[in-house]
Amino acid sequence: MIRLENVTRYYRLGEEVVRALDGVDIEITRGEFVAIMGSSGSGKSTMMNIVGCLDRPTSGRYLFEGREVGRMSDDARARLRSREFGFVFQQFNLLPRMDAIEQVELPMVYQHVGGRRKRARAALEMVGLGTRVHHKPTELSGGQQQRVAIARALVVNPRVILADEPTGALDTATGGEIMAMFEDLVRTHGITVIVVTHEQSVADYADRIVRMRDGRVVEDSRRAQPAVAALP
């Protein structure tokens, strides 16, 4: 479903050229639960932005379902992004002043989807916030805010959820709950989840761990499925 072929992404930082991605080849199939690991500056966030159609490769090809994203217009990428991808960020990125249900409705506003309120409510119930629909971000805990963000990502029925350090601003227990929720999305809804993290404990929830360093993939390992279930 997702395929990067020799993708590079260079930034110009003053006189210096930063090679955020320096020839990445990777293929992610439908329903995978992938963790992308690496220290800061390893290129993991850049890769996520390219996969999520927020950014374009400097060279190489990015194919989503066989279509080359790099050649699409800005609008076409925006359309693809809003239909196929849901984003979850470290800082939640909720809009201030809006209550939970409005946050979740937001993607549908841009897609001209009907029955917004009903679908938003269903998404909030799915993440266990059915009783908090009219709370504003400041009235919610970090974990609850991240759940709202997940509901917002889920509400458009995306095929891929991209999470950039989703547990980075949460305590371990709450982070675990969030990761368990992602796991459930993969197992029961067949959604592809890609999590960018630098914490091994978080990456352990995934089925596949891709390690990056200096803009390249240095390790790509899969685990046997029941690994998590075998833990006490």
């Binding site: 925006a78 809003s82 984003f87 937001l106």
Partner: protein, 420 residues
């Protein structure tokens, strides 16, 4: 993003920055309001002048001594500033008897300013030496008593007719008719009997006319001043000619000029002939300049308001970079962001425009008929000024919102998201 969603987002953003939005809108309110008020004031001034000229009477043509003739035949009388004496009562009689088609009536007049004393007070007034035809020609009527008669003229009677304002000023308790007033200035000390009071002309610009007093032309030229030429003809400083309503003013004027040029035996006229349209035209130029000046001032305040809106929208885009990033991440296209910010600017300007129209119309109506700094204000609200001011406000909204909106839409989603 549907327009309704865009409006909802816009109103939320406006409400979230309450004070700032109010101040920005205030700029538009003042701009739009001042366009309406100042144009209404300009039009009011124009209408006032027109009313004043129309109130002079109907179908009037004025013959006056030419300015270059000043200084000739000076006597004790003070003529209109800059005018000399080239016209006589005989000229007036000649015009009436010349058989020019289209002349309905002729009334010569001579005016001077003099001090008048009543048992109660004294006041400086403009005295018009008139003939009995004066009321008919100038379209004025009596409220009480009678106007100057032919007998008065023949006898040089010491009778006086007061304008309503002067009547009230000299005799605050009323009952002026039958009383006496005294002209008292220098060697002149003459007691006059009040025989009539004019009806108020009213309306804007009626003031001057309502403050005149009238005495027989012969009385004025013999007893108050001595304006006669060598052959004993009475000088006048204006001949009022009333044309029949169907007659062409230009043709009648030309005929009058011909007759008088011949009588005076001059190559170029030593007098001027002006129709009411000429006066209106001259005044229209002055008031048009005034209107343009006022309109330009108002236009400047509208532009200042627009700069305020653009400034605020630019600040708003910078402040909400992160919000733009979030919206982009959840699927907003560049044009959705543009729409959002243009809608916001439009809402501010249209809101300011509507309030400005209300305030402008309110102020224009409020000052109409009031006296401000000793000046009677009159305003005429022009419907087109409301339309134009509002349209300009909306146009400014769209324009001043579109550049910030464009900047917002150009923001790179990732950069925008990283913005703290």
């Amino acid at each position: 993003m549907s327009p309704i969603d865009a409006l909802r987002v816009a109103f939320r953003a406006i409400a979230a920055n309450g004070l700032r939005s109010v101040l920005t809108t205030l700029g538009m309110v003042i701009g739009v309001g001042s366009v309406i008020v100042l144009i209404a004031v300009g039009q009011g001034a124009q209408k006032g002048v027109q009313d004043q000229i129309r109130s002079l009477g109907q179908d009037l043509i004025f013959v006056q001594p030419a300015p270059q003739a000043a200084g000739q035949g000076s006597g004790g009388a003070r003529g209109a500033a800059g005018s000399g004496f080239t016209l006589t009562q005989a000229d007036a009689d000649a015009l009436l008897s010349s058989g020019i088609s289209g002349i309905k009536g002729v009334a010569p007049q001579l005016s001077i300013d003099i001090q008048v004393v009543s048992p109660y007070t004294n006041q400086r007034v403009t005295v018009i030496g008139a003939t009995s035809d004066y009321p008919a020609v100038r379209g004025v009527t009596l409220a009480e008593g009678a106007f100057i008669t032919q007998t008065d003229l023949d006898k040089r009677a010491l009778n006086i007719v007061l304008g309503p304002e002067i009547a009230t000023a000299l005799f605050p308790d009323g009952g002026a008719v039958g009383q006496t007033v005294r002209f008292n200035q220098g060697p002149i000390n003459i007691t006059m009997k009040v025989v009539g009071i004019m009806a108020a002309k009213g309306g804007s610009g009626g003031g001057a006319i309502d403050a005149y007093v009238y005495i027989p032309l012969t009385t004025l030229s013999t007893r108050l001043s001595f304006n006669r030429n060598s052959s004993g003809q009475v000088f006048v400083n204006q001949i009022n000619v009333q044309k029949t309503s169907g007659a062409d003013a230009t043709k009648v004027s030309a005929a009058i000029t011909d007759v008088l040029v011949q009588r005076h035996a001059v190559a170029t006229p030593d007098f001027t002939v002006k129709t009411q349209d000429d006066l209106l035209g001259a005044q229209a130029d002055v008031t048009r300049t005034l209107s343009i000046l006022l309109g330009s001032i108002a236009g400047i305040s509208l532009v200042v308001g627009a700069i305020g809106v653009m400034n605020i929208m630019l600040v708003s885009v910078t402040e909400r970079t992160r919000e733009i990033g979030i919206r982009r991440a959840v699927g907003a296209r560049a044009r959705d962001i543009t729409l959002q910010f243009v809608t916001e600017a439009l809402a501010l300007c249209v809101g300011g425009g509507v309030l400005g129209v209300l305030v402008g119309v309110g102020v224009a109506l409020g000052i109409d008929g009031r006296t401000i700094a000793d000046k009677d204000m009159s305003t005429v609200i022009q419907p087109w000024s409301i339309f134009v001011a509002f349209a300009v406000a909306a146009g400014i909204g769209a324009l001043s919102g579109s550049y910030p909106a464009y900047r917002a839409s150009r923001l790179d989603p990732i950069t925008a998201l990283r913005n703290e």
